[in-house]
Symmetry: C2
């Protein structure tokens, strides 16, 4: 059943060679990442689209402050400041009002089509719409996704699949295997979480991918051992990855991105979707410490890509958010202040601190050690009370409230808000992203930057594992359900 690995039989360079000179100039506008007009002819060979889920404008400002060295006279710029280019509106199709969910917005970013909240790669009539990733695959490029959520979550799913509801995680996992583009799987590389959706009682999609020749890994270390150029399914957690505050890899998104690129690089170019999925989850949880840590993992990813594009100036990187989450505000309660210094020394996420607090011999000492600062009397009393609660959720809320008060952070919702989001871009073709536009325009700009026609594509053996409707398959009898 094991298939041959990809055999490249003909790979012709389609794209105009880029004349940009790599350089380390700290003035972003003068580096190779922002080439002059004469250097920008042609289209990028590789496109890396990054969605930072939930990252409204308050998150990027907060992160700059979070990173600031108090000893310097100015607030120090971060990489976001070097690569900002524009602003995008995020509203969904009119039937869903002015505030989008991640499915409608990812469908807009991926396909250029507005849809209803919950839609995965389908329009308001539930008809499939092609994504830029799918078009890239059809044009002979390699494709991949690297995310910190389960890989079937709304954002990656909208680039990979078509489903009337984001909730149909199992169907979406199946479609990653069942849907073919020119006889090939939609993605060459899929990295993130989600084993519970792939290895199910009635169907083991992971096994099917292995049978079809994909390398499968379930730890970061195993991912590191793979030779370059493999087709890879990497699932590192049952659902989403741990908070980066709790993960042993504090650069997990940067790491997944680097390894995705290692496997995607080829003469025909690649399209990679990267998602900083858990900025949004921190926003939903109103957890400013987790939010800043997830932003830092994204920052490390951008710093890696910035170096990558200096060495590969024929690559375009675009970053935006799908919406803002939590109604985060930098300052609250009438005070003209925001104090990120209390968010820098956590040893674990508030969720994990909360789960462990009731077992601590000395809850106040434990909380103080985990949060990284000495609790004042009021906070110590609060923590002592929290430790007696049965609800971990209530304990977590109490811990987060200490951080909100310390940092003077504001929130207005556990859901999303409708504010426009920032757009960042660097590398070949980034100039197309300056200004104000709608999130659908981001897909349209990327479609326009993809090759005009099909390249001489890699020869990839048709996988034999065919689509098997789950209702006709008894997994107990056939563990691969085939």
């Amino acid at each position: 059943m094991r298939q041959n690995m990809l055999a490249v039989t003909a790979a012709t360079l389609f794209l105009t060679a880029c004349n940009a000179t790599p350089g380390g100039d700290s003035n972003a506008m003068s580096t190779a990442l922002f080439p002059t007009t004469s250097q920008q002819s042609g289209k990028p060979k590789n496109i890396i689209m990054i969605v930072s889920d939930g990252m409204g404008p308050a998150y990027t400002t907060a992160y700059r402050n979070f990173r600031d060295d108090p000893a310097t006279p100015q607030v120090d710029p971060v990489i976001f400041d070097r690569i900002f280019v524009g602003n995008a509106s995020t509203y969904p199709a009119k039937e869903s009002g002015f505030v989008t969910d991640s499915a409608a917005s990812a469908t807009a970013l991926a396909s250029g089509v507005k849809s209803y909240n919950g839609a995965i790669g389908v329009d308001v009539n539930k008809q499939p719409v092609e994504s830029v990733l799918q078009r890239a695959k059809a044009l002979g490029m390699k494709t991949g996704i690297a995310v910190t959520s389960q890989i079937v979550h709304a954002t990656p799913a909208s680039y990979m699949a078509h489903n009337e509801s984001r909730k149909n995680y199992n169907e979406i996992a199946d479609s990653f295997y069942d849907d073919k583009i020119n006889g090939q799987f939609t993605a060459n590389v899929m990295l993130g979480g989600g084993t519970q959706y792939f290895e199910r009682k009635e169907r083991d999609v992971t096994a099917q991918f292995i049978d079809a020749g994909y390398a499968y890994v379930d730890t970061y270390n195993k991912l590191a051992t793979l030779p370059a150029g493999e087709n890879v399914l990497g699932l590192f957690a049952p659902v989403g990855l741990p908070w980066v505050l709790d993960d042993k890899r504090k650069n997990r998104l940067a790491y997944l991105t680097e390894h995705a690129i290692k496997h995607l690089e080829n003469d025909n170019g690649f399209f990679l979707l990267v998602e900083a999925s858990q900025v949004d989850w921190a926003g939903h949880a109103n957890d400013i410490a987790a939010a800043m840590a997830e932003m830092h993992d994204l920052n490390l990813t951008l710093e890696y890509l910035y170096q990558y594009v200096q060495k590969h100036p024929d690559t375009l990187v675009v970053l935006t958010a799908d919406h803002s989450t939590g109604g985060l505000t930098v300052g609250a309660r009438g005070e003209y202040a925001w104090a990120p210094e209390w968010l820098k020394k956590l040893s674990a996420s508030p969720a994990v601190i909360a789960s462990e607090l009731p077992q601590a011999d000395d809850p106040v000492a434990f909380a103080s050690q985990q949060l990284g600062f000495e609790l004042n009397d009021e906070e110590a009393q609060q923590v002592a009370s929290l430790a007696r609660l049965k609800s971990t959720r209530a304990i977590e809320s109490g811990i987060k409230s200490i951080l909100d008060i310390r940092s003077n952070t504001g929130w207005t919702t556990g859901g999303h808000t409708g504010v426009d989001v920032e757009v960042f871009a660097f590398g070949k073709g980034h100039n197309a992203f300056y200004g104000q536009y709608d999130n659908t325009d981001i897909a349209k700009k990327i479609f326009a930057l993809l090759p005009d026609s099909v390249k001489q594509v890699e020869t990839e053996s048709e996988p034999t594992g065919e689509s098997v409707p789950t209702d006709t398959c008894d997994f107990e009898k056939d563990w691969r359900c085939q």
Copy 2:
């Protein structure tokens, strides 16, 4: 005592003629407002700087939604969408933390120097720093301010004056008269509110300006009767102007701007500061209806200026905010919705509705009529209770809470927040404003766009009214205090 009016004895055109072709193309990037590189040589003749106080990114998104026609399939773009160019950080000098007040940010925007919260045109050592308006005057351009606050409020004051504290309104009013640049008053045109700071018991600055040859008006209609080219002091309210919801002129900022320009136009060019002052006041009050109405007045101003620049393509218009106010979020309370339709039919501001509610024969009917929609049972009960309260402030909070719940608006503070703000620009030289930078860079860019050297300036008679320290002047004996 009455002085001669300005007599222009020599006015030489300093600036390169602009070759841009006016046009009505709806594609902003292709119109004369966004000229191609070859059309951009030279510097603008006139510069109009607009500060929309408190207008963080949530305000512009909210306003687009507020203006949207529900009958159209997309959310309709507004003028902000056509003129967006960049993003600016707003933090004050480090001693004031990460969240600025309007004085520090206006000083940054006006002079390019970071200062402490409260500083009016002075640095952290309380030393005066030159503003772009002051430089423009020194270079022989006409200068003006048109605002909806009192004209001595933080933003206009930071362009006009130098004072260690924004609270010293009387001193700032005095300095408008006392400070001279090349023997001339700082501004040729001053329009806004603030009679109580100018016509005081111990000094009548208004009378001094009249004696110095300035036309003085205190109503919009009187302003309209003045012939073009006058030096004008127009003070239309004791402190700030009424909310636009309560003003008889629903385009008051656009009107003041148009009239300011009428008096400033001259062969040497002009610098005009416009402030939509009360977007911030609505944010402080957590009043979403007033916020949208103030944004609409700003929108009308921009639409007027957009037409003006088509006819005068040698003019640059730059708009930004000094910070965001109120922690406004478009959506709140876990609901993925924002409903601006409830904010469109108010007959008066919530403040005025609240002040009149207790006198109404039928408070529920009155509130319903004033708000422009029928109250549901819960709201009707709430209004009936509010009408019995003695505190107008409490009644106003109740009215605003009805609007917040109806529209699903969120707020986190009665103060400011630290989020970066958007920058908008059109006309000659607008290209300098693309990208991400600090608010001090806006002043630096404008300094660079001002003429390189002194023009042959208008001859303006030296006013005889000299600075008189208030402690040596007895207004009871000398009504002009001279």
